[in-house]
Subunit: 156 residues, 2 copies
């Protein structure tokens, strides 16, 4: 696995996301890495992330898939351009479409693992397929269609 | 609008969801109601729910659509059976598929409104189409395919 999380290479003013921003102390602070040609992230759900007792609520699963997807899109775009992650101008993506299949109830007790594969990459659009597993069980599958961040969202 | 939120008619042991459970003090506590044949919910994002400064992160939008969808599915199932919401046996639904189109950056400052319409209703499956708006702008559209809660998730 690579050493630096994708999200930790984002510029400071793009690092406030509740799902994955290092500058959001209340948030989930998801960290995603390359593992060969796949992207991987792990997350330990908190007790309050419950749906029904013992299981994770769907919104957390959707949030993790979403942020792992946009992070993977950004990393894939840097890699496609042979650029150092985080080098300027920043390549940051937002989600145009998120689709999640909830396949099994997802236990809240154990670490969840997300694994992403880059299905399609164009200059302004990256499609990422993601599985979310608990142990050896795939509990959810998702696809993120990520697009280059519009200028209207840029803080800079 | 009806007076009691769908989620407030759930049995106590089914009311721990981070997105919509009244028994989850850390959660979002989304409340959904009938407005004629549509379902409606409002939510004021918190400061930490940011994506980039000024805008809501996608995971919150997905979470709200998901919980409004399953709540709407439950309410529609009770209505279809001419039963009082919350009467036993409980009709509780979970999400099989969540699909969200993020159409515009969603401002964090204002109250968000979700409106649901029941596209399809069968005994074990309800499909709900949902818009999420800020003011008069629809910022996201989603569809929730909700299925009757499997016995393996039931705490009872």
């Amino acid at each position: 696995m690579t050493n630096q999380a994708f999200q930790d290479s984002y510029p400071d003013d793009l690092s406030h996301c509740y799902g994955c921003g290092r500058n959001n102390p209340h948030g989930l602070q998801l960290k995603s890495y390359w593992d060969g040609d796949e992207t991987v992230a792990q997350f330990q759900p908190r007790a309050e992330h419950t749906a029904l007792p013992g299981f994770v609520y769907g919104g957390l699963i959707a949030s993790l898939i979403d942020c792992h997807g946009t992070g993977s899109a950004s990393a894939a775009a840097y890699r496609a351009e042979n650029r150092e992650p985080g080098s300027l101008p920043a390549l940051r993506f937002v989600t145009a479409n998120l689709n999640v299949d909830f396949m099994k109830p997802t236990p809240i007790s154990d670490v969840l693992e997300l694994r992403g594969t880059i299905r399609e990459i164009k200059e302004k659009k990256v499609v990422v397929d993601i599985t979310l597993s608990s142990g050896d069980q795939v509990c959810a599958k998702g696809t993120v269609i990520a697009v280059k961040m519009p200028d209207t969202m840029s803080p800079g």
